[in-house]
Amino acid sequence: MSISLSINGQQLAAEAGQTVLLAARANGIYIPTLCDYPGLPPHGSCRLCIVQVKGRSITPTACTTLVEEGMVVETDTPLVKELRVEVLRMLLAEHPGTCLFCPEHDHCQECMVTLRKTSVTTGCRTCPADMQCQLQDVVDSIGLESVAYPVRYRALPVEREDPFFDRDYNLCVLCSRCIRVCESLHFNNILAYVKRGSETRVGTSFGKSHIEVGCSFCGACVDACPTGALWDKTSRWDGKPDHTVSSTCPFCSLGCEVSLQIKTNGVDRIISCYPAQVEKPLCVKGRFGVPELLDHPGRLKTPIRISQGEVTHPGWEETLHLASEKVAACCPGEAALVVSANCTNEELFLADKLSRSLTGGGTILDAAARYGDGIEAVQRLLHTSQSPNILEDADLILCLGMDLQYYQANLEVFLKQAMERGATVITLNEKEHVPGRYASLWLQPGSGEVETMLGRLAGGLGKRDVADAIHALKASKNPVFLVGDDYLVRMAGAVEKLVTTYQASVVAIPAEGNLYGALRVATALTQPATNPKVLYLLGTTVPKDIHPGTFIIYQNSHMPAVQIQNGVLLPMAAFGETCGSVFDQAGKLRNLTAAVQPSGEGLPGWEIICRLARLLAINGFDYVSVNEVTRDLVSAAPSWQMTGRVPGWLAAPGGHDYLGKPLADMVAGLKQLNLQVQEGK
């Protein structure tokens, strides 16, 4: 129903149930706010959004007042202004004001004139949020020019012991956005107001660290904070990003939309990675993994040639030439091309094409070694897998081998929402995990008995522990199975059988960023180069059991973990440095954007393959842009035919790898989380 009201004399239409604040905003009328945040219920704590409403003696807050027919609202009367100034004056009695009222501020940003140490000219870095702080905006808009009351500095130690983000509650304005975002966007309750009165703070239960209280480090609180109180460790002093670019998180098959924050400072750099929409938080990998991955000291920056263990840097031309010579010297069957399920579609497509003309067979997918015999079942499951959005309509959700403690923690929202609307959430997992503690039912088989239990569920005649689950499954009209990486790897066949029995919809979530793409684009596996003479490793790790004489073409964004005796290292652009696409776990094509230049002399993966192919005089590699490749691969018939045997020498990658290296080896905080998981279990 539409409602008409007037704000500042302007006649407007608004929706019934809308707040005055949103109605004003929708019509371009600015009302200063701090505690308001998209997707959160109003809180009414900052009191900045007060307005006058004709006929009311009080000045209500716009964010908590619903529109009414015929309402007459004023947002900018002298009274309102006076009150706002006073709120702000009070607020600044609790907040350091250096960044707000330093007479040198603007000047300083530009030329860094402020003297700090002898002979060092540098700008003050008072707060990570400087120039991107909502409190600064509010002060500007209200036009306050100095503090009115003495400032009471809280003198709290900055909390740094947790990974990924620091917490400096001296800068906190107690807007509760972090608390509420954790509670209602993420349905977690890590943060809360602690203490009361003028000692009120944001904190965790009993002052424990975030790791201890079970924080998933999704970073939604950091995204929500209007001040510099919560900030990424990696970008703490980088200042305001110069622009943002949207892309797709490469770290798992969900393919969350991200917004890359870029700083232009001579060389462009990705300083941080935010969710593209505030209402859709990322998980810890996507939110915090990118800058550390890209800035890692182990980045491969120049082409390298290794001969009998001796390293030289001959430049691109010569290195590629050498590689092509080695390939050309092989008979069919003597060369093998291994790809990673983290590669882009374009890389996979071109690699497959190259492999076919060289060896007659497709590429070997390294993840095949991980999935073993289950790979065919995985293919079928993934082929029918749907987007997690379908969880919204499920009346029963069965989680199979999911653990949402850290990775993919953003899926928890679906489970908690489901519980709230009365749907049944059953989880099957032998270990302590999320959502074990709050699911309607936690089926906990003994270790080694998971497959048996899946079988009993499928059999439909289970007693004792599974009886309730079977009953619920049979009664469900719209069951959805949420299949995690763990069981996809270990028992895809049994999972598939269960799915068929109950005709459930499937949301399968492999850990690899582009497994769907790898299975759709590439044909492969069947070629058994038993002991290849030349091994082309595209984004994968060097197999341990390979003959030392093998010539290795190692194309990757990071240095190999093991020494190579003979071969070439080709520096490849990493995520964020190259364009391309991936398929998410529901088969949706998602774009990756080149936000910055590749590190060092690195080149986009697709380009390296093309150059090598051209040196080998193979036709069909004259692409000049990645889009041409994308077009070809999309129109090519999907394969979904991974069959055959996994070569014995092929090394199985880990689940949470990026191009053949464990992400936790490159992102320190993730290692800390892994340790936590090991300790907890």
Binding site: R47, M90, P150, V173, G197, S198
Partner: protein, 543 residues
């Protein structure tokens, strides 16, 4: 009904119990039995008797003889002298100091004092609070019987509305109106919540009501539940009130055994159950929406209103929240009718009000008097005048959110109207009487200290305003204040009132406002002359 020749009451407030009241009680029973008087003499524990200078106290009717402090060893002599031989046990009598509170009322029955008017406290101090039969003997649960057998819910709403009963929890909201809001609100389930958080400094009337007469609260809640269509009740009791909680638990147990609580009460088809929730020491949890949050297991933080609890309260369901004293009026109104109730008090504020008198008067304690009494009367009649050599300067009503009453306003009849008329707020019913030795800066500082600690901390104006006001007052009291501080204080008190979300922040500025209105000269003396006229503030060298 059995009649007794003598009635023996043993004080059993928390302090008396600590000092051995239980043992005294048992010993009296033993002695009475030994002398074969058990058919003629009834012995009861009665809760707080309103006077703490000689406890454990033993009061014997009908002579209204007061003994105390009584030790176990004294009992044989006392029983033998008074109950067996029928004469006053001279050596054991409490001092002949003027009687206060409940004892004053006991004497009033003998015609010695201008009458307090007892509605709420009628049974407190007379019956054994741990014995439901005693309550029933004193007309207890009759109102409930009448309600369930003769009245429709609308009739109950009607009579409460007509009685003109207003909330005694501070805001004075018309109770009948609140009840009908809840009755009208749609909801799968409804709740009745009794607010017994009572954490205003200096206020303890609710505690004494519960300790003395717990069943009256249960009865009122069941009646309220019937009227509004609720089936479950919560009593939110301040955490420190251990004895009150024990008495309530016991009362609930007994009421269940007697069928006043539970399913199908009196075969009427009406079900009602009551739970007790203990507070954990936060003042803000007395605010009704913070209280609801607290029952739900969350941090005590006031909600945004609307929606009001009457439509969306506990777990989102329509909820009636009433103060203990408000509820305690209900059974009497049902029994005696709205007309009777209206005959007490003033036309705009019918009924009585329970006050706790504190401060520099001769007699402090608990009184229940008709609405509309003036401060001068309270001091003269019930306080027995200001203490020797002191004269009245001001009174502070209603704990911290009440107002400050200067001498010039002491003839204002105190009721729910007086606040809008003259700024005299009833608040929670505490009357802190201060003499000339009281410094207004110090008083305001103490109050603001309370608010700055007890604010929930959620909204900026309240959290920071109370803190800043306190700091400014502190600096004035140290002699380092400036005249600009006065402007700041005025600004802060005004803006806190306008800008805060809940009653705490909205009233935190009241003491500042009153001090500036009535005692500005005294505050300025602190600043201009660096002198504390009352000689309290540290700069005057007394500390």
């Amino acid at each position: 009904m059995k009649t007794y020749r003598s009635l023996v009451l043993v004080s059993s407030d928390a302090r008396s119990l600590e000092l051995g009241a239980q043992q005294v009680f048992q010993k009296i029973q033993q002695e009475v039995n030994r002398l074969g008087l058990d058919e003629e003499v009834s012995v009861s524990m009665v809760g707080d008797v309103g006077r703490h200078d000689a406890i454990p106290m033993v009061i014997v009717y009908p002579e209204a003889a007061i003994y105390g402090p009584v030790k176990v060893e004294d009992v044989p002599f006392l029983v033998e002298e008074h109950l067996y031989k029928g004469r006053i046990a001279a050596g054991l009598q409490a001092s002949q100091r003027e009687l206060s509170g409940r004892i004053a009322w006991i004497s009033a029955r003998k015609g010695t004092l201008p009458a307090e008017k007892r509605v709420v406290l009628e049974r407190a101090g007379v019956i054994d609070p741990d014995n439901i039969e005693d309550y029933i003997l004193h007309d207890g649960y009759q109102a409930l019987g009448k309600t369930l057998s003769e009245m429709k819910p609308e009739d109950v709403l009607d009579i409460i509305k007509k009685s003109g009963l207003q909330g005694r929890g501070g805001a004075g909201f018309p109770t009948g109106m609140k009840w009908s809001f809840v009755a009208k609100a749609p909801g799968k389930k409804k709740y009745v919540v009794c607010n017994a958080d009572e954490s205003e400094p200096g206020t303890f009337k609710d505690r004494l009501i519960i300790e003395g007469d717990p069943h009256s609260i249960l009865e009122a809640m069941i009646i309220a539940g019937y009227a509004v269509g609720a089936t479950e009740g919560y009593i939110y009791v301040r955490g420190e009130y251990a004895l009150a909680q024990t008495r309530l638990r016991n009362a609930i147990q007994q009421a269940k055994e007697f069928g006043f609580l539970g399913n199908n009460i009196f075969d009427s088809g009406f079900d009602f159950d009551i739970h007790i929730h203990s507070g954990a020491g936060a003042y803000i949890c007395g605010e009704e929406t913070a209280l609801l949050e607290s029952i739900e297991g969350k941090r005590g933080e006031p909600r945004i209103r609307p929606p009001y609890p009457t439509t969306s309260g506990l777990w989102g369901m329509p909820t009636l929240v009433n103060n203990v004293e408000t509820l305690a009026n209900v059974p009497a109104i049902i029994q005696h009718g709205a007309e009777w109730y209206r005959s007490i008090g003033t036309p705009s504020s019918p009924g009585t009000k329970v006050y706790t008198i504190l401060g520099n008067v001769n007699v402090t304690g608990l009184i229940e008097v008709p609405m509309g009494i003036t401060l001068r009367e309270v001091i003269a009649i019930y306080g027995k005048g200001m203490k020797e050599g002191s004269s009245f300067k001001l009174a502070q009503t209603g704990g911290s959110s009440g107002s400050i009453i200067p001498a010039s306003l002491q003839d204002t009849p105190m009721d729910f109207d007086s606040f809008t008329k003259t700024g005299v707020a009833l608040g929670s019913g505490a009357l802190l009487i201060c003499d000339e030795e009281t410094c207004v800066v110090d008083l305001a500082k103490v109050l603001l200290q309370f608010f700055r600690v007890e604010s929930c901390g959620k909204c900026n104006p309240c959290r920071i305003g109370t803190e800043r006001s306190y700091t400014i007052l502190d600096s004035i009291s140290q002699g380092t204040g400036t005249l600009k501080d006065l402007e700041d204080l005025k600004m802060l008190s005004d803006k806190m009132t306008t800008l805060s979300n809940c009653g705490l922040g909205q009233t935190a500025g009241t003491p500042l406002r009153d001090v500036m209105n009535y005692f500005r000269a005294e505050v300025e003396a602190h600043i201009r002359l660096k002198v504390c006229p009352a000689g309290v503030c540290p700069m005057s060298g007394r500390h």
